[in-house]
């Protein structure tokens, strides 16, 4: 099936093709250039210069010119050939984390009904309106796509018998699995997603809210097992609160873009610190200061004051006067391991760090040397780091936002949650605690379409939706037509010139002898 991404170009080409048709209908005199000794007695007649023909002149040349314009229009219209529609593909994301517990059998039955079209009532209802293509993705902290050939009743029986895994879950892994499954599926009209899970805080991770929207442009139907789904409060009907942790301030003469991006992904509102930030700023005080590079003593004093007032101040290597080797990092490199599990792998340059009394270790190098410590200071906290945050490829590491999140939490050991997770989310680490309605709304992506069209998915970065582009071939055809047209026009032009010369000779010198 031929599809045009920009049909207006083809329309424009068609309209432009009318121009040569009109020009070929207009005949310019002189069709006849003739000598006339009594020319002094004729009066100029402008009507004889242009006249309208009944039939276009030189039909072959006209056809070539029209074809050229139409081909150019078609080439720029973004034509593509798409195979016959393959229906709607539905990706079923099955939670197999340890936390699903006794609801595992119910979860497998729901997944079976969704994939095979039988079993649970909800599954039967789903199968009635879905198309043929279905994908099954199992996830905990990672996601695995089950080959379509393996999806039969026996597989689900064995899955139910095997029981859930013993790992926690990460909804971010489910999202990654969803994206991978859709990208791996060739040819479809639209795609939808179903998440079979026992919704719980255990699967929530920092930045998930933003990852959710970036990963999948459609809604995710959540099939809850192991209890009732939380009810969406009537009051929360507008835009969902994505849970902004607070205001973070970056202090740096240059750089800071990577840290800013990561903090914003974590939900922080990031500002750039000035020399007199404490006095300049109106409104609530920043909850987090990240200091990249040396600062003046005045700023350092203001930062200490902010820490004592309750803020967390993160100082990278070479900033803190208390840090050994305050000049920065050395030539040695290592791998950073954070207490929360984040690992910044690779050649991270490291520097020495002192451990003040009362400090708690946030991260260590792979040889056990401390890499980041948190020191309580008044109501707040001072975090010192033994490397530079934007050093080398460190900001490009996948775990960079998680590491930054851990640094931002400073002296707090608890699991910070987005505000959208509800009042209890921020204070509680309850891994098995059910998601509240706000977090569930974020996960479901309410307001997004239930099924996303192939073109929308392609626009969202899910590949070329299997359309075979034809533009370059049509452009080549247009070039070929242009070459033939040029050759033919020159040949006709030369013929006309010779004819005109003959006519002149015959008229003037053709005396019959």
């Amino acid at each position: 099936m031929l599809e045009l991404a920009r049909p207006a170009y083809l329309l424009a080409g068609g309209l432009l093709a009318l121009v040569p048709i009109a020009l070929h209908l207009i005949a310019r005199r002189p069709p006849r250039r003739a000598p006339l000794p009594t020319a002094r007695f004729v009066r100029p007649d402008p009507r004889t210069a242009v006249r309208l023909r009944r039939r276009p002149s030189d039909l072959l040349l006209l056809a070539l010119r029209c074809a050229l314009l139409l081909l150019l229009g078609a080439a720029f219209a973004g034509p593509s050939w798409r195979p016959a529609p393959a229906g709607t593909v539905e990706v079923v994301l099955l939670d197999r984390g340890a936390g699903i517990g006794g609801a595992w059998a119910e979860a497998v039955d729901s997944a079976r009904a969704l994939v095979l079209g039988g079993g649970a009532a909800e599954g039967r209802a789903e199968s009635g309106r879905r198309g043929a293509g279905r994908e099954l993705v199992l996830f905990d902290t990672a996601a695995v796509r089950v080959p379509a050939a393996a999806l039969d009743a026996a597989f689900f029986d064995s899955l139910a018998a095997a029981g859930p895994g013993d790992s926690p879950i990460d909804y971010a892994a489910a999202l990654r699995g969803l994206v991978a499954a859709v990208r791996a599926r060739p040819g479809f009209d639209s795609a939808g997603a179903v998440l079979v899970t026992r919704p719980r805080w255990e699967g929530w991770s920092p930045g998930l809210a933003r990852l959710r929207d970036a990963a999948w442009p459609g809604a995710i139907r959540v099939v809850g097992v192991g209890g009732e789904l939380p009810v969406q409060p009537a009051a929360v009907d507008g835009p969902v609160d994505r849970g902004v942790p607070g205001i973070a301030m970056i202090h740096a003469d240059r750089g800071g873009e990577y840290v800013t991006a990561a903090l914003e992904a974590l939900g922080w509102t990031v500002e750039r610190g000035s020399e007199n930030f404490a006095a300049d700023r109106a409104g609530p005080a920043p909850a987090l200061h990240v200091v990249l590079g040396p600062v003046s003593t005045e700023v350092e004093a203001a930062l200490a004051e902010s820490a004592r007032a309750g803020a967390t101040v993160v100082l990278e290597a070479g900033v803190s006067a208390g840090a050994a080797g305050g000049s920065g990092v050395g030539g040695a490199t290592g791998t950073l391991r954070f207490a929360g599990g984040a690992v910044l792998d690779g050649a991270v340059r490291r520097g020495p760090i002192a451990i003040p009394p009362g400090a708690r270790l946030l991260a260590a190098w792979d040889d056990g040397a401390p890499a980041a410590v948190a020191v309580p200071e008044g109501e707040g906290c001072r975090v010192e780091l033994a490397t530079r945050l934007e050093e080398g490829r460190l900001p490009l590491a996948p775990a960079f936002p998680a590491a930054l999140d851990r640094l931002a939490r400073g002296c707090d050991d608890g699991q910070r949650r987005p505000a959208a997770a509800g009042a209890g989310g921020a204070a509680s680490n309850g891994g098995g605690r059910p998601l509240d309605a706000g977090a569930l709304a974020v996960l479901e992506g309410r307001g997004h379409p239930a099924a996303v069209g192939a073109a929308d998915l392609a626009a969202a970065g899910f590949g070329s939706d299997d359309g075979r582009p034809l533009g370059r071939w049509i452009l080549l055809a247009a070039i070929a037509v242009a070459a033939v047209e040029t050759w033919l026009a020159r040949r006709r032009g030369a013929g006309r010139r010779v004819g005109s010369a003959d006519e002149t000779v015959a008229g003037i010198g053709g005396t019959g002898r």
């Binding site: 006849r32 250039r33 000598p35 009594t38 020319a39 402008p46 053709g510």
Partner: protein, 309 residues
Amino acid sequence: MSEAGPHGIRPAEAEGGFLPPRLLDRLGGLDLIARTVVEGFVGGAHRSPYRGAGEEFARHRAYQQGDDVRHLDWRLFARTDRLFVREYREDSNLQAYLVVDATASMGYADGAGLPKLRYAAYLAAALAYLMLRAGDRVGLASYGAAPVLHHPPRNRPGHLHDLLATLERLEPAGDASAAGALDNVGEALRRKGRVVLISDLLEDDDGAALLDALGRLRARGDEAIVLRTLTPEEAGDAPLAAGTFHDPERPAREVAASPADDPGYARRVAAYYARLATAMGERGVEYVAVTTARPVELALGDWIRVRGS
């Protein structure tokens, strides 16, 4: 079924018994054309203006049916028992100059018709044949790129051949005025004579210099005859299809026009030549307007009519 005539021309192609100009080309050389035209002219409705017999005996000729029996030589009949008529050389002192316009404009031909220069050559050849036959001395001049006196007036054996050969070689070129050629002819004529100008009369100055030159000839006492030669399209007698036109003598100036749709075109052409004809009449110049579509014999007849009026 029509039979082809002596020159391969079918009678149906003849117009009123005369040969259309476009068919004269089939006859061959100008000598045969001139002879054919004049024989047709003399044997037709017109009588030769040079029929008067002279006093000087020229030769005997075998009697042919229709010859005047008064010219039979009875004494020779008595000796030979065959009939001969006596022919006399007409005693004439007339010198004539044929002046042929060979400018570029005379190369023009319309449709399948003859170029004007070719038609002018027919006219000149017929006139030369007629006048030489009448015993006149005939010269030839032309003007194209410049005025040229080709042959002085003579009447001797072979002179007609020289005249016709020169007429055959004329090619249209240049834009010289007729006035220069007429002045040269006037100077070359040692006594009063006859000047026949065959031209389209398309002069740069609308014919002012030409009229002056003709006036000078008439003042000398010369007889001046002008055979204006145009194609029917030029004269406005035939439709002229639209196009971009240029004067062959002024090719740089082009005019996009449709003369067939312009009734003023024929009027302007007619007015131009009417003015010239009037001015020539005032100077005692005989003016005959012919087109290349008219048989040459009839054109000669037109001239005779003008002369007789």
